[in-house]
């Protein structure tokens, strides 16, 4: 597959690893922001390819993990309604709320459907005029154009039986929250390549300048990740803290203007609560007033949901890169592939889940005996 296969070339990967090894003179802590990048790293075994001393920590780029419990509970309350067809990306199906998950709601008779694209909801709405179709519009900026288009098309076509439950979050405020924390260990970032394809990367420049950290906007294939790491390391070694673009075949500084235009017409920035982190100002999207009619939170009175959430939980620390799954006392013991325990375990892009799926609960020493597998 073009633009995929060649970015999995083992020889070039080895060369990149060697360049990193040569460039590096001391340990560095680098955060990859996107859950998709985490997935790629663990699935391809990239963290085991990197030289010792390059520590990759996983950032909060996992909308599944950061969606607050209240929002999950609202989603579930709506999904339980007999007049509702609840549509969601597959990622959210297994996230537990205060009681049950979307699977259990389905088993109790709820109509829950996995969709690939928000536009599929329009078809479902047209085919089921006597039902209310509700789409769980989660995601970072990458998914905002798609969710915006659903809202836009719904209004254009005058469909009365469709609405969106919006839980959008934005990356730069999350990075700022991480950088401003006194416990921050992260020295450089692999920036979110697909988020930036939509919104560009100019927002990251003030962050890089203020905190003097390298932010290299990076793609998702193994060679992208390795090249991104190399660029971060080279910056760190030379004392620079700038924004660079590794993923130039897909994006430029300004991002996608038509997408940004529609996002601005449909959404407005607002404060958002992040699970395990708390409220971060101006860190999410809400539907604008003009689209209130399509806002599921307004259409369905989902009130008085009994939700309790402490200020900090271990998944929150992992999401901020302050702790790694290995640091969690339960990781690999009470919390194992057979008995998953944490928020970040729920789907493949959560840091712990990615680790469990790909076995990072093995420490380096556990892989002794298969030395010939490592270059």
């Amino acid at each position: 597959m073009k633009y995929i296969d060649e970015y999995r070339d083992a020889d070039i990967a080895a060369k990149l690893v060697e360049r990193i090894r040569k460039a590096q003179t001391r340990p560095w802590v680098i955060m990859e922001v996107c859950g998709g990048q985490t997935h790629s790293i663990v699935k391809n075994g990239i963290d085991h390819l990197l030289p010792r001393g390059i520590e990759l920590v996983h950032g909060p780029g996992c909308p599944v993990c950061v969606t607050p419990l209240e929002m999950i509970d609202k989603a579930h309350a709506i999904a339980r309604r007999p007049d509702v067809i609840f549509c969601s990306f597959g990622d959210m199906l297994r996230v537990p709320g205060s009681s049950g998950d979307l699977f259990s709601i389905q088993s109790q008779g709820g109509d829950v459907r996995v969709v690939y694209s928000p536009l599929d909801c329009l078809k479902i709405a047209r085919a089921n005029p006597d039902k209310q179709v509700v789409f769980f519009a989660i995601g970072f900026e990458t998914t905002a154009p798609a969710n915006a288009m659903l809202a836009w098309q719904a209004r254009q076509s005058g469909l009365a039986n469709i609405s969106l439950l919006v839980s959008h979050v934005l990356v730069p405020p999350a990075i700022e929250a991480i950088l401003s924390s006194t416990e921050n260990r992260v020295q450089g970032f692999l920036g979110p390549g697909h988020v930036c394809a939509v919104v560009g990367y100019s927002e990251y420049e003030p962050l890089a300048a203020r905190y003097h950290v390298p932010i290299v906007v990076t793609g998702f294939e193994p060679l992208d990740i390795l090249e991104g790491v190399l660029m971060v390391v080279e910056q760190l070694e030379s004392g620079r803290g700038e924004v660079e673009n590794q993923y130039s075949r897909v994006l430029a500084r300004g991002g996608n203007r038509p997408a940004q235009d529609l996002i601005a017409k449909v959404f407005e920035v607002s404060d958002r609560k992040w699970r395990g982190v708390g409220t971060i100002p101006d860190s999410g999207f809400h539907l604008r007033d003009e689209f209130r009619a399509f806002d599921a939170e307004h259409r369905f009175s989902v009130t008085a949901i009994d939700t309790q959430e402490p200020a900090v939980c271990i998944a929150g620390l992992i999401l901020q890169g302050i702790k790694k799954p290995h640091d969690c006392p339960a990781f690999g013991t009470e919390c194992t592939p057979q008995r998953p325990l944490g928020a970040t375990m729920v789907s493949a892009e959560g840091a712990c889940a990615a680790y469990y799926a790909y076995g990072r609960h093995l420490r380096e020493s556990d892989l002794v005996g298969i030395g010939d597998l490592r270059r």
């Binding site: 597959g90 205060s98 009681s99 699977f103 088993s107 969709v115 298969i370 597998l373």
Partner: protein
Amino acid sequence: MSTSKIDDTPVQTAESAALGPFGACPLPIFNHPQIVLGHGSGGKLSAELIEKVFVSRFRNPTLDRMDDQAILQVGSARLAFTTDSFVVTPIFFPGGDIGTLAINGTVNDLAVGGATPLYLAAAFILEEGLAATDLARVADSMALAAQQSAVQLVTGDTKVVNRGKGDKVFITTTGIGLVERPTQLSADRARPGDKILLSGYIGDHGITILSQREHLEFEGALASDCAALHSLVREMLDAAEAAGDLPGVRVMRDPTRGGVATVLNEIAVRSRTGMILREPEIPVHETVRGACELLGLDPLYVANEGKLVAIIAPSIADAVLAAMRNHPLGADSCVIGEVVEQPAGMVLMKTTVGGTRVVDVLFGEQLPRIC
């Protein structure tokens, strides 16, 4: 407040007791009060259900082996005995239908136990409103598949349930075969040094089904690989016997739901060995690859209906592989890895890019993702 209690959750401190060990971290639910779809996925949820609800109540040495079939000594004969249910939607798909699956699936479970499949029983649960022509089509497929495998359908049952209480048709087939050779095929027989053989391209069936499913549909030249494998198995056992090492064929499994990854993990756990796979050796068609990349799925976990994996002693691996390649259903057979001593119970894979990852067992169904 999240979480259903898990039986073996450790004791918590007073303040966190109410919330679970990690505050609001939600526990993916294991102890569902109702059955959920994940229980049928072949992953950890399924395994838990089967163990807790069924195996625990019916313990006996044969059941405890949890192989795809039961090998029973009845008088002087060794019989293989198995059952399987087929609930696929849609019931017709490129490459087959629920009827072909129902015959071939059970034939295959007998075959990988080293048995010559002989007789089948079939039970049908029909939903009120099912088109008679559809049922006839399914029955035709079953008749053809049975004939091609030289198995006889010797008994059966039919029930009809109210509209909405079924899904067009559910079929359960039960099969009996004769194990004529002194094979010792079982999931606990893999040994370090053994080779892991795969009979061809993976993921075709599961991705074909997925492509027909609303809201995930895509186009491509996809067809299920549904096929009866007993003649392929026969060639493999012939080759092993000719090489003087029939017990060198340690395990054979057909990787249906849960895919190759699930089956290899089961073997690794039962055999208390590790396994190392090599990603570049694992054959995947471009169509399956494209679909998997698009939806964020891993072909290792996607169902197959006409493939087998076999763990073979190194001394006869080449001979068995050659025999497989000579057979139409095994033309693309390859060695995808080895059995190793450590890490016991785990399957590792060297990735295309040169890294190493663990191929774990899924929790429930593999779902398309956007992340």
